[in-house]
Amino acid sequence: MSIACRLNVNGAIQSVEVDGAETLLTTLRERLALLGAKRGCDQGVCGACTVLMDGMPVRACLSLAANCADSPLTTIEALNRDALGRDLQHAFVELGAVQCGFCTSGMLLTAYALLRDNPSAELDDVREALSGNLCRCSGYRKIIDAVLHVARPRGS
Protein backbone atom coordinates (compact mmCIF):
# COMPACT_ATOMS: atom_id res chain seq x y z
CA MET A 1 0.00 0.00 0.00
CA SER A 2 1.49 3.30 -0.84
CA ILE A 3 1.61 6.00 1.77
CA ALA A 4 1.81 9.67 0.94
CA CYS A 5 4.31 11.35 3.20
CA ARG A 6 6.19 14.59 3.43
CA LEU A 7 9.87 14.27 4.20
CA ASN A 8 11.97 17.18 5.39
CA VAL A 9 15.22 16.55 3.55
CA ASN A 10 18.01 19.11 3.79
CA GLY A 11 15.49 21.79 4.69
CA ALA A 12 13.13 21.16 1.77
CA ILE A 13 9.78 19.41 2.07
CA GLN A 14 9.59 16.50 -0.36
CA SER A 15 6.23 14.86 -1.02
CA VAL A 16 6.67 11.18 -1.89
CA GLU A 17 4.54 8.06 -2.07
CA VAL A 18 6.25 5.09 -0.48
CA ASP A 19 5.50 1.48 0.37
CA GLY A 20 5.01 0.83 4.08
CA ALA A 21 8.22 -1.19 4.30
CA GLU A 22 10.28 1.09 2.05
CA THR A 23 13.49 2.20 3.67
CA LEU A 24 14.63 5.79 3.81
CA LEU A 25 17.72 4.75 1.83
CA THR A 26 15.57 3.53 -1.07
CA THR A 27 13.46 6.70 -0.99
CA LEU A 28 16.51 8.98 -0.96
CA ARG A 29 18.30 7.16 -3.75
CA GLU A 30 15.48 6.00 -5.99
CA ARG A 31 12.79 8.64 -5.57
CA LEU A 32 14.71 11.77 -4.63
CA ALA A 33 17.91 11.11 -6.64
CA LEU A 34 20.07 11.84 -3.60
CA LEU A 35 22.86 9.34 -4.22
CA GLY A 36 25.27 10.39 -1.47
CA ALA A 37 23.98 7.81 1.00
CA LYS A 38 25.34 4.47 -0.23
CA ARG A 39 23.78 1.03 -0.09
CA GLY A 40 26.47 -1.17 1.38
CA CYS A 41 25.39 -4.02 3.64
CA ASP A 42 21.67 -3.16 4.02
CA GLN A 43 22.07 -4.53 7.57
CA GLY A 44 23.08 -1.44 9.54
CA VAL A 45 26.64 -2.64 9.97
CA CYS A 46 28.74 -0.76 7.41
CA GLY A 47 27.60 2.84 7.97
CA ALA A 48 27.76 3.86 4.30
CA CYS A 49 24.07 4.88 4.36
CA THR A 50 24.36 7.06 7.46
CA VAL A 51 22.23 10.22 7.48
CA LEU A 52 21.32 12.64 10.27
CA MET A 53 17.79 12.38 11.66
CA ASP A 54 16.91 15.06 14.19
CA GLY A 55 20.60 15.84 13.98
CA MET A 56 21.73 12.39 15.05
CA PRO A 57 23.46 9.79 12.87
CA VAL A 58 21.16 6.88 11.97
CA ARG A 59 21.12 4.13 9.37
CA ALA A 60 18.96 5.05 6.37
CA CYS A 61 18.90 1.35 5.39
CA LEU A 62 17.13 0.44 8.66
CA SER A 63 14.76 3.42 8.79
CA LEU A 64 11.29 3.23 7.28
CA ALA A 65 10.76 6.27 5.09
CA ALA A 66 7.15 6.74 6.17
CA ASN A 67 8.31 6.78 9.79
CA CYS A 68 10.68 9.69 9.15
CA ALA A 69 8.00 12.22 8.24
CA ASP A 70 8.25 14.07 11.55
CA SER A 71 12.01 14.42 11.61
CA PRO A 72 14.37 16.76 9.80
CA LEU A 73 16.86 14.78 7.71
CA THR A 74 20.31 15.84 6.60
CA THR A 75 22.23 14.01 3.91
CA ILE A 76 25.76 14.53 2.66
CA GLU A 77 24.38 16.74 -0.10
CA ALA A 78 23.78 19.49 2.49
CA LEU A 79 26.93 19.08 4.59
CA ASN A 80 28.66 22.03 2.93
CA ARG A 81 26.06 24.45 4.28
CA ASP A 82 27.97 25.28 7.44
CA ALA A 83 31.57 25.87 8.41
CA LEU A 84 32.04 22.63 10.32
CA GLY A 85 30.80 20.55 7.39
CA ARG A 86 33.05 22.41 4.95
CA ASP A 87 36.05 22.14 7.29
CA LEU A 88 35.58 18.39 7.52
CA GLN A 89 35.26 18.01 3.76
CA HIS A 90 38.43 20.06 3.19
CA ALA A 91 40.33 18.10 5.83
CA PHE A 92 39.33 14.80 4.21
CA VAL A 93 40.65 16.05 0.87
CA GLU A 94 43.82 17.65 2.25
CA LEU A 95 44.81 14.72 4.44
CA GLY A 96 44.02 11.97 1.94
CA ALA A 97 41.12 10.53 3.94
CA VAL A 98 39.27 9.50 0.76
CA GLN A 99 40.27 6.47 -1.25
CA CYS A 100 37.43 4.80 -3.17
CA GLY A 101 34.95 7.18 -1.53
CA PHE A 102 32.18 4.71 -0.80
CA CYS A 103 32.33 5.16 3.00
CA THR A 104 33.09 8.88 2.86
CA SER A 105 29.61 10.36 3.16
CA GLY A 106 28.83 8.19 6.19
CA MET A 107 32.18 9.00 7.76
CA LEU A 108 31.67 12.74 7.24
CA LEU A 109 28.14 12.85 8.65
CA THR A 110 29.12 10.77 11.68
CA ALA A 111 32.20 12.95 12.28
CA TYR A 112 30.08 16.08 11.84
CA ALA A 113 27.66 15.00 14.59
CA LEU A 114 30.60 14.15 16.85
CA LEU A 115 32.38 17.50 16.48
CA ARG A 116 29.15 19.49 16.67
CA ASP A 117 28.46 17.91 20.08
CA ASN A 118 32.08 17.63 21.21
CA PRO A 119 34.28 20.15 19.36
CA SER A 120 37.33 19.05 21.37
CA ALA A 121 36.96 15.34 20.58
CA GLU A 122 40.15 13.37 21.09
CA LEU A 123 41.48 10.20 19.51
CA ASP A 124 39.38 7.79 21.58
CA ASP A 125 36.22 9.85 21.01
CA VAL A 126 36.78 9.80 17.25
CA ARG A 127 37.51 6.07 17.19
CA GLU A 128 34.38 5.35 19.24
CA ALA A 129 32.17 7.64 17.12
CA LEU A 130 33.40 6.12 13.84
CA SER A 131 33.38 2.53 15.15
CA GLY A 132 30.22 1.81 13.18
CA ASN A 133 31.57 3.04 9.83
CA LEU A 134 33.58 0.55 7.82
CA CYS A 135 36.22 1.58 5.26
CA ARG A 136 36.99 -1.39 3.04
CA CYS A 137 40.06 0.41 1.72
CA SER A 138 41.09 0.34 5.41
CA GLY A 139 42.04 4.00 5.30
CA TYR A 140 41.12 4.56 8.94
CA ARG A 141 44.34 6.26 9.98
CA LYS A 142 43.90 9.20 7.63
CA ILE A 143 40.17 9.43 8.27
CA ILE A 144 40.81 9.74 11.99
CA ASP A 145 43.64 12.21 11.36
CA ALA A 146 41.30 14.36 9.25
CA VAL A 147 38.63 14.46 11.97
CA LEU A 148 41.21 15.29 14.63
CA HIS A 149 42.58 18.01 12.35
CA VAL A 150 39.22 19.79 12.57
CA ALA A 151 38.72 19.14 16.28
CA ARG A 152 39.76 22.03 18.52
CA PRO A 153 42.40 21.25 21.11
CA ARG A 154 40.78 21.06 24.53
CA GLY A 155 40.77 24.40 26.30
CA SER A 156 41.30 26.49 23.17
Binding site: M1, I3, D19, G20, A21, T23, D42, Q43, G44, V45, G47, T50, M53, M56, P57, V58, R59, C61, L62, S63, L64, A66, N67, D70, T110, E128, A129, S131, G132, N133
Partner: protein, 283 residues
Protein backbone atom coordinates in the same frame (compact mmCIF):
# COMPACT_ATOMS: atom_id res chain seq x y z
CA UNK B 1 8.05 -3.76 -4.72
CA UNK B 2 6.54 -5.31 -1.64
CA UNK B 3 3.12 -4.34 -0.49
CA UNK B 4 3.23 -3.61 3.19
CA UNK B 5 0.74 -1.59 5.21
CA UNK B 6 2.38 0.63 7.81
CA UNK B 7 0.13 1.62 10.70
CA UNK B 8 1.23 4.56 12.80
CA UNK B 9 -0.96 4.56 15.90
CA UNK B 10 -0.74 7.53 18.26
CA UNK B 11 -1.40 5.62 21.47
CA UNK B 12 -0.42 2.32 23.03
CA UNK B 13 -4.09 1.35 23.19
CA UNK B 14 -4.48 1.88 19.44
CA UNK B 15 -1.28 -0.10 18.75
CA UNK B 16 -2.51 -3.04 20.84
CA UNK B 17 -5.91 -2.97 19.11
CA UNK B 18 -4.20 -3.04 15.72
CA UNK B 19 -2.09 -6.02 16.77
CA UNK B 20 -5.19 -7.80 18.09
CA UNK B 21 -7.11 -7.18 14.86
CA UNK B 22 -4.22 -8.05 12.52
CA UNK B 23 -2.64 -11.33 13.65
CA UNK B 24 -0.12 -11.16 10.80
CA UNK B 25 1.08 -7.66 11.71
CA UNK B 26 4.51 -7.15 13.22
CA UNK B 27 5.20 -4.39 15.70
CA UNK B 28 8.20 -2.28 14.77
CA UNK B 29 10.15 -0.32 17.37
CA UNK B 30 13.54 1.14 16.34
CA UNK B 31 13.70 -1.13 13.30
CA UNK B 32 17.35 -2.04 13.79
CA UNK B 33 16.71 -5.77 13.76
CA UNK B 34 13.32 -6.02 12.03
CA UNK B 35 14.24 -3.93 8.97
CA UNK B 36 17.55 -5.80 8.69
CA UNK B 37 15.55 -9.05 8.66
CA UNK B 38 13.21 -7.64 5.98
CA UNK B 39 16.21 -6.43 3.93
CA UNK B 40 17.68 -9.94 4.12
CA UNK B 41 14.38 -11.21 2.68
CA UNK B 42 13.78 -13.43 5.67
CA UNK B 43 10.42 -11.78 6.28
CA UNK B 44 7.90 -10.02 4.01
CA UNK B 45 5.37 -8.55 6.43
CA UNK B 46 1.91 -7.68 5.14
CA UNK B 47 1.46 -5.13 7.92
CA UNK B 48 3.66 -3.26 10.37
CA UNK B 49 2.52 -1.41 13.47
CA UNK B 50 4.98 1.36 14.23
CA UNK B 51 5.48 2.24 17.88
CA UNK B 52 7.47 5.36 17.03
CA UNK B 53 6.02 8.51 18.53
CA UNK B 54 3.87 6.79 21.17
CA UNK B 55 4.73 9.05 24.09
CA UNK B 56 3.66 6.67 26.85
CA UNK B 57 6.32 4.18 25.74
CA UNK B 58 9.17 6.69 25.85
CA UNK B 59 11.48 7.78 28.62
CA UNK B 60 12.94 6.80 31.95
CA UNK B 61 11.18 7.67 35.20
CA UNK B 62 11.38 6.97 38.89
CA UNK B 63 8.58 4.77 40.26
CA UNK B 64 6.79 5.25 43.62
CA UNK B 65 8.53 2.17 45.06
CA UNK B 66 11.92 3.77 44.52
CA UNK B 67 12.68 1.82 41.37
CA UNK B 68 13.13 2.95 37.79
CA UNK B 69 10.83 2.29 34.82
CA UNK B 70 12.32 2.42 31.33
CA UNK B 71 9.69 2.81 28.60
CA UNK B 72 9.92 0.20 25.87
CA UNK B 73 10.68 2.78 23.14
CA UNK B 74 13.58 4.33 25.06
CA UNK B 75 16.66 4.38 22.83
CA UNK B 76 19.88 2.60 23.84
CA UNK B 77 21.55 6.00 23.69
CA UNK B 78 19.33 7.25 26.53
CA UNK B 79 19.79 4.11 28.64
CA UNK B 80 23.56 4.33 28.12
CA UNK B 81 23.60 7.93 29.37
CA UNK B 82 21.12 7.56 32.26
CA UNK B 83 22.76 8.75 35.49
CA UNK B 84 20.21 6.99 37.72
CA UNK B 85 21.39 3.62 36.42
CA UNK B 86 24.29 3.45 38.87
CA UNK B 87 25.39 1.26 41.74
CA UNK B 88 23.91 -2.23 41.43
CA UNK B 89 21.98 -1.10 38.33
CA UNK B 90 25.09 0.16 36.53
CA UNK B 91 25.46 -2.97 34.39
CA UNK B 92 22.29 -1.99 32.50
CA UNK B 93 23.73 1.29 31.22
CA UNK B 94 27.14 -0.30 30.68
CA UNK B 95 25.50 -3.03 28.58
CA UNK B 96 23.59 -0.39 26.58
CA UNK B 97 26.84 1.49 25.92
CA UNK B 98 28.36 -1.67 24.46
CA UNK B 99 25.61 -2.27 21.87
CA UNK B 100 26.78 -2.09 18.25
CA UNK B 101 27.74 1.48 17.26
CA UNK B 102 26.55 5.01 18.13
CA UNK B 103 24.16 5.32 15.14
CA UNK B 104 22.56 1.98 16.01
CA UNK B 105 22.22 3.12 19.64
CA UNK B 106 20.42 6.23 18.33
CA UNK B 107 17.81 3.96 16.74
CA UNK B 108 17.49 0.76 18.75
CA UNK B 109 15.15 0.52 21.73
CA UNK B 110 15.17 -1.52 24.93
CA UNK B 111 11.75 -3.02 24.20
CA UNK B 112 12.63 -3.97 20.64
CA UNK B 113 15.96 -5.42 21.63
CA UNK B 114 14.66 -7.69 24.37
CA UNK B 115 11.62 -8.74 22.33
CA UNK B 116 13.93 -10.17 19.67
CA UNK B 117 15.42 -12.59 22.20
CA UNK B 118 18.84 -12.62 20.52
CA UNK B 119 21.03 -14.90 22.65
CA UNK B 120 24.07 -12.70 22.06
CA UNK B 121 22.38 -9.40 22.94
CA UNK B 122 23.77 -7.23 25.71
CA UNK B 123 20.72 -6.09 27.67
CA UNK B 124 19.21 -9.52 28.50
CA UNK B 125 21.97 -10.73 30.85
CA UNK B 126 22.16 -7.27 32.45
CA UNK B 127 18.40 -7.27 33.08
CA UNK B 128 18.57 -10.76 34.59
CA UNK B 129 21.47 -9.73 36.84
CA UNK B 130 19.56 -6.72 38.24
CA UNK B 131 16.36 -8.78 38.63
CA UNK B 132 14.37 -6.59 36.26
CA UNK B 133 10.65 -7.01 35.69
CA UNK B 134 9.24 -6.88 32.18
CA UNK B 135 5.85 -5.16 31.77
CA UNK B 136 3.74 -6.69 29.00
CA UNK B 137 0.38 -5.69 27.57
CA UNK B 138 -2.11 -6.86 24.99
CA UNK B 139 -5.41 -5.23 24.07
CA UNK B 140 -7.17 -6.70 27.10
CA UNK B 141 -4.74 -6.98 29.98
CA UNK B 142 -1.28 -6.33 31.32
CA UNK B 143 1.06 -8.71 33.07
CA UNK B 144 4.55 -8.72 34.51
CA UNK B 145 7.30 -11.30 34.25
CA UNK B 146 10.74 -11.41 35.77
CA UNK B 147 13.59 -11.14 33.28
CA UNK B 148 14.49 -14.70 34.27
CA UNK B 149 11.10 -15.88 32.99
CA UNK B 150 10.91 -13.58 29.96
CA UNK B 151 13.82 -14.99 27.94
CA UNK B 152 12.82 -18.50 26.89
CA UNK B 153 14.85 -19.84 23.97
CA UNK B 154 16.74 -18.84 20.80
CA UNK B 155 14.94 -15.73 19.53
CA UNK B 156 11.99 -16.73 21.67
CA UNK B 157 10.54 -14.82 24.58
CA UNK B 158 7.46 -15.32 26.72
CA UNK B 159 5.58 -12.77 24.58
CA UNK B 160 2.38 -14.18 23.11
CA UNK B 161 0.78 -13.04 19.83
CA UNK B 162 -0.73 -9.59 20.26
CA UNK B 163 1.49 -8.73 23.21
CA UNK B 164 4.06 -5.95 23.49
CA UNK B 165 6.70 -5.10 26.04
CA UNK B 166 5.63 -1.73 27.42
CA UNK B 167 8.35 -1.08 30.01
CA UNK B 168 11.26 -2.56 31.90
CA UNK B 169 11.17 -2.01 35.65
CA UNK B 170 14.29 -2.04 37.74
CA UNK B 171 14.11 -2.53 41.50
CA UNK B 172 14.93 0.18 44.02
CA UNK B 173 18.68 0.20 44.28
CA UNK B 174 20.58 0.35 47.53
CA UNK B 175 24.22 1.17 47.23
CA UNK B 176 26.49 -1.35 45.64
CA UNK B 177 28.10 -1.87 42.30
CA UNK B 178 27.78 -3.70 39.01
CA UNK B 179 29.70 -4.38 35.85
CA UNK B 180 29.25 -5.79 32.38
CA UNK B 181 32.13 -7.64 30.75
CA UNK B 182 31.84 -8.39 27.04
CA UNK B 183 34.28 -10.31 24.88
CA UNK B 184 34.04 -9.42 21.19
CA UNK B 185 36.01 -10.14 18.03
CA UNK B 186 35.82 -6.51 16.86
CA UNK B 187 34.18 -3.40 18.31
CA UNK B 188 30.44 -3.34 17.73
CA UNK B 189 30.02 -7.05 17.18
CA UNK B 190 27.67 -9.37 19.04
CA UNK B 191 29.52 -10.89 21.98
CA UNK B 192 31.36 -14.18 21.99
CA UNK B 193 30.38 -14.30 25.65
CA UNK B 194 29.41 -11.69 28.22
CA UNK B 195 28.91 -11.48 31.98
CA UNK B 196 26.67 -9.10 33.88
CA UNK B 197 27.24 -8.89 37.63
CA UNK B 198 25.22 -6.85 40.13
CA UNK B 199 26.15 -6.60 43.82
CA UNK B 200 24.43 -4.77 46.64
CA UNK B 201 26.51 -3.28 49.43
CA UNK B 202 24.97 -5.87 51.76
CA UNK B 203 26.75 -8.45 49.61
CA UNK B 204 23.92 -10.04 47.66
CA UNK B 205 25.27 -10.78 44.19
CA UNK B 206 23.62 -11.93 40.97
CA UNK B 207 25.32 -12.89 37.73
CA UNK B 208 24.06 -13.75 34.26
CA UNK B 209 25.83 -14.73 31.06
CA UNK B 210 25.15 -13.71 27.48
CA UNK B 211 26.16 -15.69 24.40
CA UNK B 212 26.41 -18.93 26.38
CA UNK B 213 23.05 -20.50 25.66
CA UNK B 214 19.64 -19.88 24.10
CA UNK B 215 18.75 -17.39 26.84
CA UNK B 216 20.71 -15.61 29.59
CA UNK B 217 22.40 -18.18 31.81
CA UNK B 218 21.96 -17.85 35.57
CA UNK B 219 22.23 -20.08 38.62
CA UNK B 220 20.98 -19.70 42.20
CA UNK B 221 23.95 -21.75 43.30
CA UNK B 222 26.37 -19.38 41.56
CA UNK B 223 24.63 -16.34 43.05
CA UNK B 224 24.83 -17.83 46.57
CA UNK B 225 28.54 -18.52 46.10
CA UNK B 226 29.19 -14.99 44.79
CA UNK B 227 27.24 -13.56 47.71
CA UNK B 228 29.83 -15.03 50.10
CA UNK B 229 32.12 -12.27 48.96
CA UNK B 230 33.67 -11.27 45.65
CA UNK B 231 37.11 -11.28 47.27
CA UNK B 232 36.81 -15.00 47.99
CA UNK B 233 38.59 -16.50 45.00
CA UNK B 234 37.51 -20.08 45.72
CA UNK B 235 33.83 -19.07 45.85
CA UNK B 236 34.12 -17.07 42.64
CA UNK B 237 35.79 -20.04 40.97
CA UNK B 238 33.05 -22.36 42.22
CA UNK B 239 30.41 -19.91 40.97
CA UNK B 240 32.02 -19.98 37.53
CA UNK B 241 31.89 -23.77 37.56
CA UNK B 242 28.23 -23.69 38.61
CA UNK B 243 27.35 -21.37 35.73
CA UNK B 244 29.35 -23.57 33.37
CA UNK B 245 27.23 -26.56 34.37
CA UNK B 246 23.96 -24.88 33.37
CA UNK B 247 25.29 -23.05 30.29
CA UNK B 248 24.35 -24.44 26.89
CA UNK B 249 26.82 -22.76 24.54
CA UNK B 250 26.89 -23.61 20.85
CA UNK B 251 29.52 -23.59 18.15
CA UNK B 252 29.16 -20.60 15.86
CA UNK B 253 31.23 -18.26 13.74
CA UNK B 254 32.30 -16.32 16.85
CA UNK B 255 33.65 -19.26 18.82
CA UNK B 256 33.20 -22.90 19.69
CA UNK B 257 31.10 -24.18 22.55
CA UNK B 258 34.27 -25.48 24.22
CA UNK B 259 35.92 -22.08 23.95
CA UNK B 260 32.89 -20.47 25.58
CA UNK B 261 32.95 -23.03 28.40
CA UNK B 262 36.56 -22.09 29.02
CA UNK B 263 35.66 -18.39 29.03
CA UNK B 264 32.83 -18.57 31.56
CA UNK B 265 34.85 -18.92 34.80
CA UNK B 266 37.54 -16.56 33.53
CA UNK B 267 35.12 -13.82 32.55
CA UNK B 268 33.19 -14.21 35.80
CA UNK B 269 36.45 -13.89 37.74
CA UNK B 270 37.32 -10.77 35.78
CA UNK B 271 33.89 -9.24 36.48
CA UNK B 272 34.12 -10.18 40.17
CA UNK B 273 37.58 -8.64 40.51
CA UNK B 274 36.39 -5.42 38.90
CA UNK B 275 33.25 -5.24 41.04
CA UNK B 276 35.29 -6.01 44.17
CA UNK B 277 37.72 -3.20 43.36
CA UNK B 278 34.80 -0.82 42.76
CA UNK B 279 33.30 -1.74 46.16
CA UNK B 280 36.65 -1.28 47.90
CA UNK B 281 37.10 2.14 46.34
CA UNK B 282 33.61 3.18 47.42
CA UNK B 283 34.12 1.95 51.01
Amino acid sequence: MSDTVLHRPATLHAALELLADNPDAHAIAGGVSLVAIINAQLLAPTALVSLRGIGELEGIRATPDGGIAIGAMTRHRAVAAEARLRGPLGCVSEAARSIASPPVRNMGTIGGSISLGDPGADLPPALVAVDATIEIANARRTRRLSAREFFVDWYTTALEPGELVTAVRLPASESGTACYEKLVRVAGDICIASVALSVSSSGTARAALGGCGPAPVFSDEADALLSRGLGDAASVQAAGAALGRVAKPMDDVRGSADYRRMLIPRMLARAAARAFAQLERAA
